[in-house]
Symmetry: C2
Subunit: 258 residues, 2 copies
């Protein structure tokens, strides 16, 4: 798409980790993001080593990206119970944006298995502090959304969340200058409290929140989940003179075959 350099840039932060569905997920998400002008994709992988197939995909998509390695600290990885997934990744991306972004730019967290209607990016591009909007397929109500009322001054006021569910990670966007103003802003290593903790560290009040997506009545992003495929092992000893050797080699890179 054509690039207007005066347009605020949108940084999309996508944590990822190795599994058979990783490349398909990044492929379909990345293809959607190609439709959006002035978008910079930050892929932060939970890994100590670069993964060639991610780099190959990003290069073949051909749009601006930054690829970060951001492994979960060992202490959390070895902890029992719910782990703070993606926190290390998102922290690394926040640090990168604070160093490289402009104050007018905007950041948005988008997991690799989520589904986004690219019209969302028109909604959030001019975020002054924090935009919020509904996310589909969350909890008993099948949605996470701010509750928005008109107030006397005819602006809109967020009065709470549907079912008092925490804001979902895909349910808000933040202005980079606003992030910078809050030097201690960070995401806590606490499973289930990542979003709330981050927003609290930004010290936001209800007046800072800009309701988007037709005053939080439309769903432009969904927390879709993809069924997992277990890596398998196969015996290819019979295939000495055909394509299966090459196919299996490629499937091993995808971690579909052990």
């Amino acid at each position: 798409p054509e690039e207007d350099p005066s347009l605020p840039k949108i940084y999309v932060i996508t944590p990822t980790y190795g599994r058979p569905e990783m490349i398909p997920e990044l492929t379909r998400l990345g293809q959607s993001l190609l439709l959006v002008p002035r978008l910079h994709w930050i892929i932060a992988e939970d890994s100590y080593n670069c993964t060639d197939i991610i780099i190959d995909l990003l290069n073949s998509l051909g749009s601006p990206y930054t690829y970060l390695l951001s492994p979960m600290p060992k202490g959390y990885r070895e902890k029992k119970g719910a782990k703070p997934k993606g926190v290390s990744n998102r922290r690394a991306a926040l640090d990168w944006i604070k160093e490289h972004g402009n104050d007018q730019d905007v950041l948005y967290f988008l997991d690799d298995d989520n589904t986004v209607n690219v019209k969302l990016f028109d909604e959030i591009r001019f975020t002054k502090r924090v935009s919020m909007f509904p996310v589909g397929f969350i909890g008993d109500y099948r949605v996470s959304s701010p509750i928005v009322k008109k107030d006397k001054s005819l602006d809109f006021m967020i009065v709470g969340m549907v079912q008092k569910i925490a804001v979902d990670m895909g349910g808000f966007a933040v202005n980079v200058g606003f992030l910078r103003e809050h030097v201690n802003a960070t995401m806590p290593y606490m499973a289930g409290y990542e979003e709330d903790g981050f927003l609290k560290s930004l010290n936001i009040s209800l007046n800072d929140i800009e309701p988007k997506a037709e005053i939080c009545t439309k769903i432009l992003v969904w927390h879709t989940k993809t069924s997992k495929n277990k890596p398998t092992s196969v015996n290819i000893s019979k295939h000495t003179d055909d394509n299966i050797i090459g196919l299996v080699k490629n499937m091993k890179k995808l971690t579909v075959i052990k």
Copy 2:
């Protein structure tokens, strides 16, 4: 993308049916297809009535499409056991293509939950008879693929299928002229035999098959599956003066809320 009218058109045939994930699935697939020049998307819904949210989505995507209603015949719908899903849809699309397509054009079946790397369309665009290529996430081998050997004339020959699994619906593309030459070609109403039955009705021999995707060593399409979200019912009697009424109204259209 720029359109070269001499380029063969690709007809992508996508059967769909009403469920909470329908619009997210069509959104992310449709966004990927927007990247492909000379592509015409045929969405055939298993329904007796037009679904406004599909038409709205297709119009907002803004690329060429045809929307067909093609309900499963009542006899099959009421049958116990595995149903021939999507057959009526694909038959309707084949009829439409036979009437409107040009002989140089190509058709490809792509379910709404599948993941495609758009490079696949470069591979299949000049299909002379039938192209074949691997599909990820099928069966014990996690792939459906032709087995391809070099033969004496240094062309390639397909000698079978990995694990003798039937060809997957997303694993082949057909030239429209070749389809027309086979006036009795059709897809049978037989669960699990749809692909094989269709290819047999095209009377193809091994010499008709063109192996694609680097001689069937790369996976450019995956049979991903999305977890289902059950429609829920909600009590919104408390929400008389906020956005939740409008949000729930939109979620009812999506069939996410009953």
